[in-house]
Each structure stands twice: as C-alpha cells, then as structure tokens.
C-alpha cells in the first residue's frame, strides 16, 4: 500500500508509539500476556462464519476497555483505522455484488447475504486492526520485540526488527527531505521520472550502506556480540496470568453465546 503523505504516516507512527511511554494498569501488564491476549482476540474474531454480525459485537469490549484503562486517546487509533479501511472496503464491496440472495428483512427492506457479509468484514477489520494498534500503543514496539524474543522468536529476527525500527525514522526523514528537495526543483512532471528517481534511491542506498558500516563499528566498540542486551527483566506476575485467563474466558463466552441476540430476545419478550 502506498502512503499518501510520508510525513503524515511517519507522524502517525511516532504518535502511536509515543503512547507506550505512559503508565497505566494496562501498560504495567507483562508484554507477553498482552501479546497472547491480542492473538487470542484476533483468532476468536476471525473464527466466525462470514455471515456473522451480531455475535461479533461483544468483542468491542476488549478495545474499549483497553483504551479506557490505558488512557490512550481513541482519536489517533480511529484515525489510523479509517486510513487503512479502503483496502478492506474494496475487498468486501464485491460481496454484495456477487451474493444477492435475500437472507433477512428489516421491516420491508430485503437484505442480501452479500451486504451481511460485507458488514461482517468491516466489523472484523475494525476489531482486529484496533487490537494490533492498541498492543503497540500500550506496550511499545521495542518491548513487543523483546517479548517475542523471550517467547522463542529467533534472536537474529528480534535484532533485525529492533535495528529496523531504530533507523526507520532516521531514514524516513532523509527520504522526506530528498522528496521535498526534488519537488522544489521540478516543474510539473519534468524531473519526476525514473532517471532522477533511480539516482535518488541509489544514493540513499549507498549512504544507508555506509551508515550501516559506521553503526556496526560503533556497536563493536560497545561490545556488541550478535544480540542486544536486555534493558529490563520481565517478571510474569499473577496479575498477568489473571489478565490472560480473564480475557480468554470472556472470549470463549462471546464465542459460544450470541449475547446481542440473547439480549434482543429478552427485550422482545419483556415488551410483549
């Protein structure tokens, strides 16, 4: 996917990561526990059949509670969600086109299976994406990497993720400066073609490789032996176990009982 405005994308990235520095009950949970719950959440959400809508809604509780307890503002998370939505939207919009069987009525309005599954796709998308964003916003990327390493991800890959993330902002800023410089010196489409582009990328690449050599020398001077030293010691407390157990139980409950339908029936019978 292309990023429409590199600076805005970068700003967003930085912003979501910056929430990880705050302190809250959610922030204090062991990153491994948060990682496990996030994965369980996503698997539970996507395990439904494609026509499921109402049974998915109780899962909103997880992102809502996480946002509420962590103090992460909902605005940036929702903005990010809307930015990424077009993809799910375009993939899903084919469903109403191809699946036209009427499955239900709302009043006199006939609803086709395609629209039901389209709505289902959008709900799944919002739930899974917000869960992943909240993991970063309450934990921080480096800590997630460290947790992955402790859970058995190869150290080479953890180091790879950490170095990538460290230099992401540095190089993205450089690319942003180069693009701005080119835009200031070109008029309409002249100079925006592949010739100038390949020189820009080529030189950015050469500078990057030189930078990597310097980084390596600096790392060697500081005793780098192939993997990063861990900053903090993680301790898996009973709170963390309870966090996993509690959410797993809730997800299992949501998964086996269609709560909204249950409430709906209840309201209906009560009204009669």
């Amino acid at each position: 996917m292309t990023m429409p405005n590199p600076h805005a994308a970068l700003f967003d990235l930085n912003r979501i990561e910056s929430f990880a520095d705050r302190d809250s009950p959610i922030h204090r949970i062991d990153p491994r526990a948060k990682l496990i719950v996030t994965m369980l959440f996503i698997v539970s959400v996507v395990s439904y059949g494609k026509y499921e809508v109402s049974a998915l809604l109780p899962f909103v509780l997880y992102p809502v509670v996480t946002t509420a307890l962590s103090g992460v503002p909902a605005g940036p998370i929702l903005t990010r969600l809307v930015w990424a939505a077009p993809f799910a939207f375009f993939m899903g919009i084919f469903n109403p086109v191809f699946d036209r069987t009427t499955v239900t009525h709302i009043g006199t309005l006939a609803i086709s299976g395609g629209w039901v599954s389209f709505v289902s796709i959008l709900i799944r998308f919002s739930l899974t994406v917000s869960a992943a964003l909240l993991l970063i916003a309450t934990t921080g990327f480096m800590t997630v990497c460290d947790a992955l390493g402790r859970m058995g991800l190869p150290r080479a890959f953890v180091t790879q993720l950490m170095v990538l993330f460290r230099y992401l902002f540095v190089l993205a800023e450089e690319a942003g400066r180069m693009t701005r410089a080119r835009n200031l010196r070109t008029f309409q489409k002249r100079g925006q073609g592949i010739r100038v582009f390949s020189f820009m990328i080529g030189h950015l690449l050469l500078r990057t490789i030189d930078r990597a050599t310097r980084i390596h020398l600096a790392m060697c001077c500081r005793g780098f032996n192939g993997m990063f030293a861990r900053v903090q010691d993680l301790r898996f407390r009973s709170v963390d176990a309870a966090f996993i157990a509690g959410w797993s139980a809730l997800f299992l409950l949501f998964r086996s009982v269609d709560i909204p339908r249950w409430i709906g029936r209840f309201v209906e019978t009560a009204g009669r």
């Binding site: 509670v65 799910a88 592949i194 100038v196």
Partner: protein
C-alpha cells in the same frame, strides 16, 4: 497485496503461519551461522531503507500515475535469499503493527506471498540463472525484470488461492485471478525496471557491494524437494487441526458449499469436536448460527423443526429485529463500561 485479518479464515492463517515460521526459522539459523556480524546492522538498516524508499515516488510516463520501489528483489540481490527473507518479514511486521497494512493473523500469508517468492524463487532460480554473476548490464536488466514479474505473479496468485480457501470474500476465483494477475503484471514491470535502475547505479558506484553476494552461490544446496514436501505437510496438518478445533460451526464453508452445489443443507458432523461444539451452541443459543437462511429454505425448515423451536427457531422478520436491538444494546453497554472505567481510572491515578 497485503491480505487483511478480516478476509482470512483461522485455518488458512494458521497454516500459512506454520509455513512462514519454518522458513523464517531456517533463514534465521542460516543467517546466524553463515553471515558475519557486520551484516546484522546492514540487514536492519536496509529494512528501514525500504520503508524510506517506498516514500519516494516517480511518475510513470504516459499513464499519469506514479510508482515506487517494492524492495523485495533489491534486498535479495544485496543480501542473498535467507537474509532478504528475514528483512522482508521484519518490514511486514512493522507494517502490520503500525500501518494496519495486513494483520497479525494474515502475517504468515503476507510474509510468504511477498517474501518467499522473490527471495527463494525469483532471485536464486531466475535472476541467478539468467544474469550469472551480473556483470553484463543488459542480461542483468532482463534478469531482474523477469524475476520481479514472476515473483509478483506468483505472490498475487497465492493471494487469490489463500483468499478463496478462506471463503470470506465472495469474489469468484476466476474473476479474482483476472483482476489480480494483470494488475500485478504492471506492478511487476515497474518494480523490475526500478530495481534494475537502482542496481545499475550501485554497480557503477560501488561494485563490491553487489559482487560480494553475486559471486557466492547462494542457491539452497541439495534437493529442494524434501523442503517443499515438509512445508506442504506442515501447512496441511496445521490447517486441518485448526479447522477441526476452531470451526465449531462451519457455517461459512457450509454456505459456500451450498452455493456451489445448490444443496439446501449440508449435514454437519454430529460426532467429534464439531458435534460437541454444536451441541453446546444449540444449548446456549436462543438463536443458533443458522440465522441467515434464504427465505425459500426458511419456510420448510420452519415446519420441519417446529418441534424444537426453542433451540432452532424459524426465520421471521422479528428475529432479525431482535438481533439489531440486541446489537445496539451490546454496543451501548460496552461503551458504557469503557466510559465508567475511564472515569474510574482518572480518579484513581
């Protein structure tokens, strides 16, 4: 080309996770053993470089659109297959977590589609075969172009297969193929030309960077067959186990099967895990998962199953209304809980 969590089934997601994890483990072992320490920061910084490079666009003549570098092929040429695979995987992890490009469950699919094909097919089998050591500029250009196009075609086709196998999207296989392959032919050509141009510049300025990897034979040694067979078995096993456990009610699949065969209902297996789950579900749910049935089927089904109405109610407009009312209440309750928690946590801190 990123697949989203919302569009894949747990079985496909887990199966591809197993495949990708085994390739990543193999690559990580290979990199730790055979790659010198100085390459560790290089790999990381090149991952960041690909992000940065993707922010720089160039205009494509006569189309009015613009393209950018994908980076997979370039990484393979600079680093060799195993290291390139890890770098591509790390890029996709960051994209999944921050940019909501693809998702965590779909990560296995995405890494395979965008990492495996350029690193382990396009580079060793097409680029190396066509370009040799790469010193001939014309040969090198065509080798990169063909390798990039083929990798992207294979990747796009894998997206189609994985999406179809998941059965969430309604897009028919044929239409999806006709949509994906031509688009990715265009993207592949742009990618190939851009990569070739960048490699040419690096080759002129600092040949030693590219020559280092291009002279060493980095093709996976020995027969590739056992590896492929192993990967296939891992995928099928995982997908089978997961679908057995996860799809307590395989209604998505059932629907698509009903659509294909025209059969009204498919007998759900009453034994094993499926049976247990569906019993629990019928027991707990006022309205089981067969809530959205076409009208034509609903009427006879209603007569047949009137006896067990409490567990298997007929479809009537009222029930969907009940669903909507219930959904609205659920959402309001969830948001209410959030609101109360936020106030409470503000007070305590």
């Amino acid at each position: 080309m990123h697949m989203a969590d919302a569009l894949i089934s747990p079985a496909v997601g887990a199966g591809m996770w197993a495949v990708t994890a085994s390739i990543a483990a193999y690559s990580a072992r290979n990199v730790t053993r055979h790659v010198e320490d100085s390459r560790v920061p290089l790999m990381g910084v090149l991952g960041a470089f690909v992000f940065a490079a993707q922010m720089i666009n160039f205009s494509i003549p006569a189309t009015g659109s613009s393209g950018h570098l994908g980076g997979g092929m370039l990484l393979a040429i600079l680093l060799g297959p195993q290291a390139a695979f890890l770098v591509i995987a790390s890029i996709l992890v960051v994209q999944a977590l921050f940019f909501a490009d693809g998702g965590l469950l779909a990560l296995g699919c995405n890494i395979f589609n965008m990492g495996f094909f350029p690193a382990f097919i396009g580079y060793p089998w097409i680029y190396k075969t066509m370009a040799g050591d790469g010193s001939n500029a014309t040969k090198r250009f065509w080798a990169i172009l063909v390798a990039a196009v083929v990798s992207l075609q294979l990747g796009a086709f894998a997206v189609v297969l994985e999406t179809t196998a998941s059965g969430i999207s309604e897009l028919p296989f044929g239409t999806f193929v006709l949509l994906m392959q031509p688009i990715h032919l265009a993207i592949g050509i742009v990618e190939g030309i851009a990569t070739a141009a960048v490699v040419a510049i690096v080759w002129k300025a600092r040949p030693e960077i590219v020559v280092g990897t291009s002279t060493a034979d980095l093709r996976p040694t020995g027969n590739l067959k056992p590896v492929l067979v192993g990967l296939g078995v891992a995928a099928v096993l995982t997908a089978g186990v997961v679908s057995w456990f996860a799809s307590s009610h395989p209604d998505g699949l059932e629907w698509s099967i009903a659509g294909v065969t025209g059969k009204e209902e498919l007998e759900a297996p009453e034994t094993g895990v499926h049976g247990v789950f569906s019993h629990i579900q019928r027991w707990t749910a006022f309205m089981p998962d067969y809530n959205f049935k076409p009208e034509a089927e609903a009427a006879p089904a209603a007569n047949k199953e009137k006896a067990e109405e409490a567990t298997w109610p007929a479809i009537e407009p009222g029930t969907s209304l009940a669903g909507i009312i219930g959904s609205i209440i659920t959402l309001m309750v969830a948001l209410g809980i959030g609101y109360v928690l936020r106030i409470w946590s503000r007070k305590t801190t």
